[in-house]
Amino acid sequence: MTMHAELGINRTGISTSPALTQDMLAGREEFPPDVAGDERNIALFRAESVQQWNEPLGSVPPPTTVKGMVKSGVTALKGESPVLLIDKLGARLAFERTGVRLYEALLSKFDATGGFDAGPTRVELEGILEDEFNHFSLLKEALTQLGADPTVMTPSADLQATIGAGAMHVIVEPRTNFAQCLEAAVTIELVDNESWDALTALADQSGQRELATRFKAALVQETMHLLHVRRWLANSQGITRSDATT
């Protein structure tokens, strides 16, 4: 498998069949739209649906036990909402757990295709996988400390899983090459960096200083992941990025 798409007989564009396309276009005049309007009808329908449904994705459950809640000090959480912190901790936990599986899949692709010059070594990929697992474990511990159930899929966890689903699809698809998989991985790392940054600030504002310190260390590792993946991706395309590590 090559690192880049090659010339071939892609049939999706109109240049494959110019005569058929002309015939197709000729029909527009004879058979015009049956209803007047434009895509704003869809926008209106969406707005109506938001009002009609008036339901969230789901909720954050209360702490598992009152005892656990008191012991953990969750009632003493400062800031806007302790629920928000639990929701976002749940999101990071789920994302990191999926991240472990995602890097396992990336390693499979690496083993199958052999990587490329100036790309990652297997050990480097294993290192990121290890970090993802450690972050998952850290979040599990944090949620338990706060009296929350670390097995819950919180609304933010569900949201980020939906956002990230495409990246996993690309990596496990047998026909994608390693460079294409790095393109998927970089989107995951971007989301992860942004989210760890926000989570660290949220923990800090919630009075969870010790957690915030540990999260900051995780964020430093995530920043390195992003820099590495960006560099490998750039190298796979033969381009130089000023913000990539050397």
Binding site: T12, L20, T21, L25, F31, N41, I42, R46, P174
Partner: protein, 400 residues
Amino acid sequence: MSIDLLNDRGTPLDQQKFTWKELVQPTYSKLDDDAFTRVRVILMNGIESDQLRFSHACSRMNRVLQRDLARLRRVEQHQQTLINWLNPADQSVLETTIGFEQVAIEVTAALALKEPDPYLAQVYRFGLLEDFDHMYRYGALMDRVEGKDPNNLLQSYTDVLPGRPTSLQHRHPDDEIRNHYDRESANLRTKLHAYTLVAAEFQTHDYYMTVGPTYFDPIGRQLYAEIASIEEQHVTQYESIIDAGETWLEKLLLSQAMEVYNYYSCVQSERNPRIKAIWERFLDYELGHVRYVADLFENHEHRDAASVLDTKLTETIDFVSHREFVRDVLRKETQLTASGPNFIPMAEEPKNGPSQRYREQLNSEGEATERVAAGYEWAPGTELARKRPAATPVQPNLHA
């Protein structure tokens, strides 16, 4: 070339075997393969799924056949798996939907052109214009919700234009029952056409019912719901043209012959050599099934299978663009509706009749098919290649 249904023996049932690796093999390419390869895969998945559907119904009603049907069905189930898993994972639910409608348009047109019974040919043209309109609505959905060009899938073979508006297709169930062919006098080809279409439409209905709720945008969820309802009407229509006087085993025999007809058509037209080899293999399997069922038929009914399968297959389904034929039908028959088994101009539909009341009730709070495609005109590279998005009708001055 022709196929002798009873004398071309094919692969005996007990030699029809698979491995998991064979069942889940590399897919076709959404980008590089010809659109009709996708059409054939979607069609044949529908054909196989109907074998399972019918076989289970038959089993429930015929204890004596259960073991034989179970043996046959196991192979059919694996055939369906192998075929359906040829669809690539990078083909989204909506992209596959565009494929389903391309099947409905091009295969129905092909059969309408070859149907010897003029009434049934009209039934097919009637259904064709409705599926044609579904393509337009789904095309608008793809363009306007996902910013993608439906013609990436269609490859310019099939139009994206309004047909008989879907909002007018909703009819009372009584107006979906058509006249049926006569099992004694009907041409075998007529029977194979009817069996093919009921299978294809049934699978289309099942697919929309499965994937519709997975669509995120509410307009898409409602669109799938509305079109699925029409597909149910179509199943009812096509089912009703089949003579209900056929015995269970006669129907089973015709079902197997219909599969031969379809695989034979696929073999004749497939350009992807790897996929063609699958069609060839399954053509041999189906000939084996015909033989297997013919033996059952002769043993249980004490009739010669040749009394049902009385001719060789010489004709095949033409997997080609039927643009001119479809447009001709559009010009002449868009304004038709159904009144019982008959087709009448929409203007003559009884005022306050069952279909009109049914439609008014369903559409009384608006319908997605009109909303999604309001003013929609397909253009190469999507609507946005021709005009600005409606939300920003005036060129903004970004530097002001």
